[in-house]
Symmetry: C2
Subunit: 308 residues, 2 copies
Amino acid sequence: MTPAVYATWSADVLARVESALHEWVPASAPAGLGEAMRYGVLDGGKRLRALLVQAAAQAVGALDSAIGTEAALRAACAVELIHAYSLVHDDMPCMDNDVLRRGKPTVHVQFGEAQAMLAGDAMQALAFEVLTPDEGEGAGVPAALQAHLSRLLARASGQSGMAGGQAIDLASVGHALNEATLRDMHHRKTGALLRASVQMGAACAGLTPHSLAWAPLTAYGHAIGLAFQIVDDVLDATQPSDTLGKTAGKDADANKPTYVSLLGLDGARQEAASLLQQAHDALGQTGLSTAALAPLAALAERIVHRDH
Amino acid sequence: MTPAVYATWSADVLARVESALHEWVPASAPAGLGEAMRYGVLDGGKRLRALLVQAAAQAVGALDSAIGTEAALRAACAVELIHAYSLVHDDMPCMDNDVLRRGKPTVHVQFGEAQAMLAGDAMQALAFEVLTPDEGEGAGVPAALQAHLSRLLARASGQSGMAGGQAIDLASVGHALNEATLRDMHHRKTGALLRASVQMGAACAGLTPHSLAWAPLTAYGHAIGLAFQIVDDVLDATQPSDTLGKTAGKDADANKPTYVSLLGLDGARQEAASLLQQAHDALGQTGLSTAALAPLAALAERIVHRDH
């Protein structure tokens, strides 16, 4: 994909996802809750998880049908809702105590801690609402697909995935972690949801863990998930706060272990490059055409070669 | 149901639910997260929601098949996980700041605020994991039923249900609410999950909103949900803390509106009695046999005639 083609592709995806989130995250939720939810999830972030869902869905042909297209849009919004809720809770005083996110005051600064906690809780529930449309909503996304998407998302979000990784992170402050433990933490904390994004996109064409392309796509998701975190650590150590849109050097200051502190800057960069190659190799094993895989390949490149 | 028959029935249900929760809430979750989750959900509470799921499932014949039995057990555990997570978050300093629950230190007192928030988040995800077993788990609960149960639970938990009710509650401190707003708050905050418990039990026999018994069972859930809250307010105003197992009079002290403050003690008791009659009337419209409905009828009585 040329940069121009990628730009057109991603702009189209982001416009559809943003529009759907505007529709599905209700301003009408009572007593300011909807306002806090919308503040936490709309108009923000790179939408990497949504892009992965859509790229994977396109690779396996899910977007050739109305049902697959609807399912992939719901899956993209659901993973973004989970990601956004985790940031809202992560930023709170009892966790990272961040006051700024994407250049704006964090949700608890804007709406208070209680409303921020509730908004995060409601965003998690909404993710599963979006995945399980009733008759009359959702253009007939089949129940089997609804259940499969919910299964993938719940497992990636919970104790064996994101929440479990956050617990390891919490326990690690001020402790020396070896590379294996750091890797395990990141595979759960950010990797699980990135991997699930790819799997959910694939599921939208009816793929299951028995399908031939499932394991290679999962390996791709695994590799780019870890690469994403390593590049995050590299950027945190090398970029100023205003480029990142958040406070730089915070993890190192908090004596949290990072890939840079464990492997050094050069070692971390080499590891990211190696994972990028693994991601491309995995795509080569899916049996899908280069054209179909182009968005996934472009996303892997962007994850590693980014400056914020 | 005689008291002895009810005691046998409920003891059997509670033993099966407790055993399943012990199995499904993993002690192995990393970095103390599993311990916090188990502390928050195991061995505690009246399990009213689980009893409602099981009573409704029994009423419609879901427990006559292995698949319906498995589904109803999963539904019962899932609603208890959602209820338990809401209590963990509700007790935190930024919400109700409660240090005692069921006579034990609350989760954040025992494990710290950050772990309590994560445990609640992971418990919500686990509820949806429990509802969406993979092949090899779950005795073949059909995908359509998995999707239906997830849909009912997500809608009862989120902005239009429990979380929305909590937001209204949060905004109401120190404000005069009229009865309509108070009723709306409770229909969401506690009513939605109690109603969903009944619906989820019914869904385990394949009932859908198109089924004849669906609307009466929903009306039953609606009535007992509101009755439950009114009785809670009456007990809060009349019983000592050690009978309740929590701090009595707290809502009144916080200048939160209650049914007792709005209707007076006698008015609240009359309203509860009227709702109990509505619940019985609704059961009479299901077309199900008195024997099949006996556990639901007994639960309605217990909800209104309890002392804690």
